[in-house]
Symmetry: C2
Subunit: 142 residues, 2 copies
């Protein structure tokens, strides 16, 4: 049986543009002007922590996160991948998969720290131009 919370934005909304959806989780593309290619893997049920999931579901979710990481690396060619499950504001299990570049707004700080610079529009446009390939590659990967 699915568990949902009436006040949770990841229960009431998709959390981004859905590129792949299974019974248990969905992969969304985040609309973040500074971070083209930022994806989230969101567990469909309203579960708070990784260790609230049965062990097989943890493996299912992390395998999905790793699939998304692999595709983001292949298509977006970032300097580094950042993975995080935080959920302090939205305690509904979701993983951020963020492609990072030496010239991005916060590098080498986390994206939640103060910005270090204004990224060059041309660099952001180049990354935006890859999103069509990223959508296709994610849906093909699953």
């Amino acid at each position: 049986m699915a568990h949902h919370s009436i006040d949770c934005e990841l229960c009431s909304g998709a959390g981004g543009e859905i590129v792949h959806r299974t019974e248990k989780f969905r992969v969304v593309l985040v609309d973040d002007a500074l971070y083209p290619g930022f994806c989230r893997v969101i567990w469909n049920d309203h579960i708070k922590e990784m260790t609230d999931l049965p062990v097989p579901d943890r493996s299912t979710l992390m395998a999905a996160v790793c699939k998304v990481e692999a595709v983001v690396r292949a298509v977006m060619r970032p300097e580094k991948i950042n993975l995080a499950s935080l959920g302090n504001m939205t305690p509904h299990l979701h993983w951020h998969v963020i492609p990072r570049y030496a010239d991005d707004a916060h590098f080498p700080s986390p994206v939640w720290a103060d910005a270090q610079r204004q990224p060059a529009p041309s660099a952001l446009e180049q990354r935006q131009a890859l999103l069509g390939r990223l959508r296709t590659a994610i849906s093909e990967q699953f």
Copy 2:
């Protein structure tokens, strides 16, 4: 064969107080005055990304991260667990396992954002007092 990088602080140093060590990874307690109970799970070899690991090693590492999460939840009783693998400055695979509380320095923001408040010394002391139990519980869990 182990892979090491001469300039990497997680190759040359432990990265914290070691509470458990296996051939493949180690669990360390981070000395952070604002975040008692902050742990890291560090892959011993100099590997950059999760998807640079063979699939069985990814499972080994995430199972360890989840074990640490479970123990930190049981002993430290946080409001939320934050998990993250960033590595922009130190591209050597390591997971942050951070117990978060509604009255901590940054809640509900990530710990890398601007501080929201000065935590009460009594709250930090209470959490510091649990570290002995945390060390024991982690080493018993593996």
